[in-house]
Amino acid sequence: MVSRLPLSALDRKLLRDLWGMRSQALAIALVMAAGVSMYVTYLSNFDSLRRTVDTYYEQQRLADVFVTLKRAPERLTDRLRNIPGVEVADTRVVASVTLDVPGLNEPAAGLLVSVPSGTRPLLNDVFLRQGRWPDAGRPDEVLASEAFCTAHGFEPGASVAAIINGRRRNLRIVGIALAPEFVYSIPPGEMIPDDRRFGVFWMERRALAAAYNMEGGFNQVAFSLTPAAQEAEVIASVDRLLEPYGGLGAIPRARQFSAWTLENELTQLQTFGFLVPLIFLAVAAFVLNVAMVRALALQRPQIAALKALGYSNRQLAWHYLKWALAIALTGAAVGVAAGGWLGTAMIELYNQYFRFPELEYRLSADVVIGAVAFSLVAAALGARSAVSRAVQVPPAEAMRPEAPAHYRQSLLERAGLSRYLRPTTRMLLRTLERQPIRTGASVLGIALAGAVLFVGFVFIDAITELVDSEFQVRMRQDVTVSFVEPRSARVLYDMERLPGVVYVETQRTVPVRLRAGHRERTLAITGLPRTPTLNRVIDQYGHETLMPATGLLLSSILAEVLRVAPGDDVTVEVLEGARPVVRLPVAALVDDAMGLQAYLASDELHRLMREGNLVSGAYLQVDEARMSDLEARLKLIPAVAGVALTETMRQSFRETMAENINIQIFINVIFAGIIAFGVVYNAARISLSERSRELASLRVLGFTRQEISLILLGELGIVTAVSLPLGSLIGYGLSWLIVGSFASEVYRIPLVVRASTIAWTWIVVATAAVLSGLVVRRRLDQLDLVAVLKSRE
């Protein structure tokens, strides 16, 4: 069949040699495929998301700058429009409300956003999926966010009760909508989306303004900027203008919550899309190198003969390089197919998280070409040194019989243990010791497989750790209540009298802008009791961090963003009340997992605010049996803006986030398993072909199968055993690298290694080794003594 093809003899040799080592070639190709499919999965998703995001933002005119304030009169709009660099300024009214959703026990959070009647918003336009625009004359008609409606099965016509400015009102959903500023949204004060408990509602402006005494005024502005505008200058002008009106600090699109989360996700996809495949392909290149070095050693006499026959080094190098490239192409083909498939699955996940009018999976030619190129380069790099060394064989070698290899007594024997060792054991030890580089390469190859596996498992540990420390160590409260406005601490007593409440601790949050030099972030300072018992400050490993006696306690991510260290001062511009501006020392940092946090002892915060004992929220410890009574009551309290239940949060965290990450981990582990098997199997197979002659001779001399198996499998066993701890070490290093690249402003992942991780890694690698050993053992049993001894090869 092959001989009919118009192929050169050398190419036929290539095909047959590859076919002869097909299982090994396939094992290496699979390792490559793993890397390639990661690359394709991540980058095609990056590509699809990027495209979708960009078109969506453009079509719906997402604003460039956002600002929230207390209240400003409508006439200010013109002055805002005239700020140099501003193209469009669009004002609106927004309000947070508590919802009473039919069929949902606990209270949900809602955000009411005003839309003009009759026309579309100038910026942040709403995408109407279904239904119609609210009628001007009907104040109760709203558009509701798609995610919320889907979660509850609401269609146009359904209604939801909201506590609007202290009054319970029924909102009638007339349309289902999405907006570019809410691609990703989470209930206030929580960490991950929960579509059941958070909804956005667009309401006709006059109706909303009337409900909040905002007629003729606004409390939010969005700006689009001219292409030449200096964002920072516009922000400064906006802030100056809005300061008297309780401006909370303008933020650029880059830090608007939804856009910011999306960008972080995109960056991560891109980093991951390179980093993870890079590791896989590096491993594949290494395995390929080891396999090639050893396969080419077997080809030495052939290479010498081909050279003697007049083939040049370049021709031969190209011939052998084609081996590697053929393997890489196979790997790339499998990888692109698998990557495309996984990519679709991943887009499905994104569709649960991010709300776009349409998020379609797109596997672009660029990604495919990139993947193929990536794997060809990796293969070429892996094969290069092996090939160029192999073709250096002097052609005269073809004229000589192969010289017997040099052996010497092994370390154990030299140590005087020789009389305890059987001849086969001696052969085994001497072989391992004679070729330290080869042995080392096998050890390293298997160790790398273990390392990749290790990385996969470490992420499971990390997520478990994150969930544990967030929900068991940090948040010991059962319920977190936030108030519409800061209230006197007397509210404590009201809270304590609510059904089921056992213990109450207060919290004060103040919106501020922190400045250090030209770096700044707008966030909330959380005021906590000096020794909090419910909501505490913990680092990413779950250790409690004590509140400093004085000064700020900052997330270390925030400290990095601001480039400050303990002892430095930061400027705190309060964006509420009398808006004092003070300088405070950074007292300590907490290496925590989530976001940008700043803490201050609450008495110090009150002093700073020149206020009495005000609170913005409360943490409640609740008698579980009376939880549903409490939930029902909380829904009805007008002063309550939001209620977060720790248990619900934990559950939804586990269900969504953990499930999502588990899929990725599952993929990692599968791929790492492939690598482990590929590497180990390769090592075993090469040893087999290298030594089949020797082993066959031994069989002829009367050694049993068990005895010769011991030589080969013993070698595999020792190499595997040595590689296990090394693999864990390398894995730790890689995890450290990846965890580092993960650290965004959104969250970071703690690097924790549990004993079970090490155990699982070892078990998987050892299993791969045993399986390979069995395959090799079977081949050994079928060793054709005559054929092996007949040819010189």
Partner: protein
């Protein structure tokens, strides 16, 4: 055709050095069949390697027609081997993954005026084994494929290192006949290394090596036909 003067080859082996050749002069004329005789270790293979451009001498020089092999680089030597030399190795050195025919086409594909692989195999009496892999051939058959591979390009020189070393009489004679036939019909200058003095009878000239020296050169008045060689 070949003029070799003062060839010395030294292999450094750790502290000691091995002198494989110590000042060998050697000539080869067109159409000639020369047999190289000598005890094991006397330097026969080393000389042949130098002539074939597989190795370079430590001292002395070799000129093949207008090619100075001593000064040629790796690339020039490759070209020289490809264009002018046919090798028959003592250990056959067939490519195990290629059939007899393909092993021969390996050479015919890179030479300018080759015969067809089939014709070359016919010449060594292997027409019936075209599609056999080396592992499916006997030792003698493998050696004949090796000879077919060497002659298929119609080389100017044929260099054979113990082509009958591993063969019995009958097969050995078949191989020798093939060599003689090529030498006569194509006029290929041929050098054959052997331990077997009987084979010397079929040569035009016999060169004896001992301990890296040429210890004697004889010209045969009458050449014995290959089929009449006995040992």
């Amino acid at each position: 055709m070949f003029t070799a003067r003062g060839l010395t080859k030294v292999y450094p082996m750790g502290d000691v050095v091995v002198h494989a050749l110590r000042g060998v002069d050697f000539d080869l004329f067109p159409g000639e069949l020369v047999v190289l005789l000598g005890p094991s270790g006397s330097g026969k293979s080393t000389l042949l390697n130098v002539l074939g451009g597989l190795d370079v001498p430590t001292e002395g020089h070799v000129v093949y027609r207008d090619h100075n092999l001593t000064e040629a680089g790796e690339a020039a030597l490759t070209e020289y081997r490809r264009d002018h030399v046919g090798f028959v190795f003592q250990f056959y050195n067939l490519i195990p993954s290629l059939t007899a025919r393909e092993n021969v086409s390996l050479v015919t594909e890179i030479s300018t005026d080759p015969m067809t692989p089939e014709a070359a195999l016919e010449l060594v009496g292997l027409s019936g084994r075209l599609d056999h892999f080396p592992a499916q051939l006997s030792g003698g058959e493998q050696q004949r494929v090796a000879i077919a591979r060497a002659i298929a390009k119609q080389p100017d020189v044929l260099l054979c290192d113990e082509p009958t070393g591993a063969l019995d009489i009958t097969t050995g004679v078949v191989v020798l006949e093939a060599l003689a036939k090529v030498n006569q019909e194509l006029g290929t200058a041929t050098v054959v290394i052997t331990h077997n003095a009987a084979i010397a009878a079929m040569a035009d000239r016999v060169v004896r090596l001992a301990d890296g020296h040429v210890s004697g050169v004889e010209r045969n008045r009458t050449k014995v036909a290959a089929r009449d060689v006995t040992w």
